[in-house]
Symmetry: C2
Amino acid sequence: MNTDNKRVITISREFGSGGRIIGRRLAEKLNVPYYDKELLDKIAEESGFSREMIAGAEKRAKNSFLYSLASAMGTGEAGPESLSLNERFFLAQFDTIRKLAEEEESCVIVGRCADYILRDLPYATNVFIYAEEADKIKRAVEEYGVPEESVKKLMKDTDKARANYYAYHTGRKWGDPVNYHISIDSGYLEVEDLVDLIIEYSKRQIRRGTTIWDEK
Amino acid sequence: MNTDNKRVITISREFGSGGRIIGRRLAEKLNVPYYDKELLDKIAEESGFSREMIAGAEKRAKNSFLYSLASAMGTGEAGPESLSLNERFFLAQFDTIRKLAEEEESCVIVGRCADYILRDLPYATNVFIYAEEADKIKRAVEEYGVPEESVKKLMKDTDKARANYYAYHTGRKWGDPVNYHISIDSGYLEVEDLVDLIIEYSKRQIRRGTTIWDEK
């Protein structure tokens, strides 16, 4: 497959930053499929965590933190059965994301460590969207309909869960710029301008990395 | 002064990321003055840390971390004389940067906590430039002429000094995306494209913040 014009854009985002809306609008504007947590979870669930899928994901994930950890603990050698349900689900999702990125012409993926999973692909663009606390609260209340009295706690808990999930599976710090090609405060651009900026970035992005995991 | 088209772009950067070159090229392309550490140090030194300058800076800096600290320790009340030479120099530089930002039509400022000092100005765009370690080493050796055997140590020490200086004067974490409007890995764009992206960003940036410190 010629990947010259292919772009897989991953969006990682703080709760209330509008990252999901930005991801959706980005997919619309590029006219490519959009995948978020709910959809990725569903696909991985429907796969039924088949032995083949887990084995395939293990192979693909050989450079991943989880895999190193599992190997160090001896579970890597013992095969898929010895992994916890949580770990097996992550591997099924790892495989789902990797396959989508390889098989789709282009797409937008929000959340689920997609930046990490696709980090070596030359056509991946990893974006982090954040915002000032007051802006995030305003958006969560006005646009997401979160009750004002619970917004701070929900925001804190959600971001903490995202950071923990990311750290557990990747060994990296969620939100650390080094994990992304570009990080943008969503409070200083209109959504359309932010989407255009990401498209401009990804068009000009130098193709680096490797597709050695790609067995096609 | 009408500030509709005014832009003060601050560049914070990791050693070896090419941030300084990007800042210089940005100033050339926008045809505006360029200020870096050396020039800012020189201006502050030439000011002779006059009593007026320090007093003016104290007034302007009333929301700054250093000022709160000095006040908490009682030195804020006691006036400029009670500040250490280091603190007085920072205040002189604070004033230099603030005055440049207010008096120049537009300009580019690299380093010296300028992002923090100008954070409330509606026409300030704060950019952080970073890169992967291997890319930074390559640039430092090939473009800056740093001997290969000392590059890692120099890189580490320089960035540590920058982080410490920033933390001491602002109470914030250097490189934390929250301090900048946009953070970009310089390893995935040509310098010209990166400069264009920053210009595009700053053109579309929503004007927020206040000029209440501006006494004009």
